[in-house]
Symmetry: C2
DNA sequence: CTGAAAGCGCTAACAA
DNA sequence: TTGTTAGCGCTTTCAG
């Protein structure tokens, strides 16, 4: 408020400043500011008044170093532009809201190398826990996770070996069940349309499960088409056109996510193709965003918010209890048949 | 790798451990690990080998306290579920990638109170800079920003008084120009459909600008409709239906964002309404996600990624130069007429 | 090129 | 209820 000579480098306020301004020892000031221990009403008021008047903001760096406790939870995800992850994050945020823990986000762009880097960076802040998407990590990243000495929760996927705790769904199973539902509905000449990302293991596992499901009925994929980058809705259109002109006999299109599926749906409607009569369609994720399309695309809910919540709950539970122990939460995605699979 | 008695609380490794394992002083180990100062090839190798073998992860808390430097940039945004912000974040991430600075995100849920809290929390980590959405803050938040002694960049909006630097667009102007374009195209019975959020000041400013633009031509809004929550596409449909049945004379619908606009577009197409002949439509944001709809919705690009980039660049520039000085970057959103405004 | 000493701002532990 | 003393693990500074 006063004495702000511009140009003069202002030193940030310290506990000592508040201590001097209030005539109370640093230690007691610290107690007041953290609501710790017994402090008399009078002292408390004097301290709070002084802190507020000066505009004191505590230095968590120093606090964390002294107390060896950091209220940060590292959250590592592949991407922010894929709709799915912001939803997971908001589940995490919501769950952590009242726990005193703060999520810190890092993004890997679907690169295992970058994941390793981001993880290293985050661990060096000594967070109280780590939530990380997927089960596939570099050897070094895995080692860091194992040695961090804090609760680790791998999320989204449960198909594979785990470091500590895990919260997710089985993408293999999701693909498998979708395949069964499609076969049961009488489709048999089926194509897959998906993303081509080297490190998108979950999409890969869904496809594997899907093929396994088809194999049960002696069916093989008729065609497949991959893309990367660009607007998903548009890509969905383009890929659908490509597949339908290349393999006109196809009667079902399974998309690796709802956005490209929606593009495909719009394309089919444009072309006057009978959906789900002539061609059935299904996506994956259960993106709420898409409610409101001319038809509801068949999909499977990936339980994104719930995954975020449960993962955060594990971290906050363990950080309270002070223990580290692998929990396993497998959520079950439910088929939402929508309007694009014909009734069995 | 060895000696991991489970159950035994493992103390995290310190510089001293690396020092002892390599037979080099802590100070020199520190130099090697930070690539600072001259260290002989031999010592360097010994240190790196030891650090790697032990799996040492530096403690940034201690480092930051000692050096009084923190490579964190606090980024405060209203929401993650609104498409727009993840894009800003990815602009920030991209720009910061090579600077050694790390973004840390906080979410306010469009609440000024919560913003104040999040800001306090983040400032207590003594970040190198703050990027914060919007110009409207509580008095206390404003005071914190002013006294933080670090570069502050307010983003998204330039219509109003600023704390330090600002990067954004004028939403008033965006609304104004949209109004002019619509009037010029010959529409005159115009309705507004938007979100009802107390602290969404940018949507409010767009509406104000829009009304001002209409007023230039002596036109007043025929109708308005607000919503909150739910799937935007669906809400767009519902609101559109409501307005059209209440005010059948309307010939243009201006939506406060592209998602509800897209819902409206789909509704009109469903009903066989001639767009843009009978009714014109426009949204706001320039959401790439929507490319691939049956028609391209008229919109205005909000320059989200660019805003993120520029804001991050200001922070990293100032943190290098060590100075704090208000920069002002006003980007100009461009009208994308798409297929839903009839040619003037 | 390398090392020793002195903190960074706070809190744990103990003393009064 | 309040204060004192020692660090937390690193880096700055200065001395070899």
């Amino acid at each position: 408020m006063s004495g702000n000579n511009p140009g003069e480098q202002r030193r940030a306020l310290t506990l000592r400043d508040v201590s001097e301004a209030s005539g109370v020892s640093e230690m007691t000031v610290s107690r007041v500011l953290r609501n710790r221990g017994d402090v008399s009403e009078g002292t408390r008021d004097r301290v709070l008044e002084a802190a507020k008047r000066l505009g004191y903001v505590p230095n968590k760096i120093a606090g964390a170093l002294a107390s060896q406790r950091v209220n940060l939870v590292a959250v590592i995800i592949p991407s922010l532009s894929n709709l799915v992850f912001p939803e997971v994050l908001s589940g995490i945020s919501a769950e952590l809201e009242e726990t005193g823990l703060q999520p810190v986000f890092g993004v890997t762009n679907y690169s295992a190398e970058r994941e390793e880097l981001v993880l290293y960076e985050m661990l060096s802040w000594r967070p109280s826990g780590v939530i990380i998407a997927g089960l596939e990590h570099t050897a070094a990243a895995r080692a860091m996770l194992e040695n961090a000495g804090i609760p680790i929760v791998e999320i989204m996927d449960v198909d594979g070996p785990v470091v500590d705790s895990v919260v997710g769904i089985s993408h293999k199973r999701a693909g498998l069940e979708m395949a069964r539902a499609i076969v049961k509905a009488g489709y048999s000449r089926i194509a897959f349309l998906g993303t081509k990302m080297p490190d998108d293991h979950r999409a890969r596992k869904r496809l594997e499960g899907f093929e396994a499901g088809l194999a049960e009925a002696g069916i093989e994929l008729v065609d497949r088409e991959f893309y990367s980058g660009g607007s998903a809705l548009m890509k969905g259109r383009e890929m659908t056109e490509a597949v339908l002109s290349r393999s006109p006999e196809v009667d079902f299109l399974y998309y690796s996510n709802d956005m490209i599926g929606a593009g495909g749906l719009l394309y089919c409607l444009d072309k006057g193709i009978d959906v789900p009569g002539r061609i059935g369609l299904a996506g994956f994720n259960g993106v709420e965003l898409l409610e409101g399309l001319p038809r509801r695309l068949a999909t499977m809910d990936a339980c994104r918010r719930e995954i975020g919540r449960r993962a955060a709950a594990i971290i906050s539970g363990h950080s309270e209890a002070g223990l580290i122990g692998g929990e396993r939460v497998e959520l079950t995605p439910v088929l939402q048949p929508g309007d694009t699979i014909r009734p069995a």
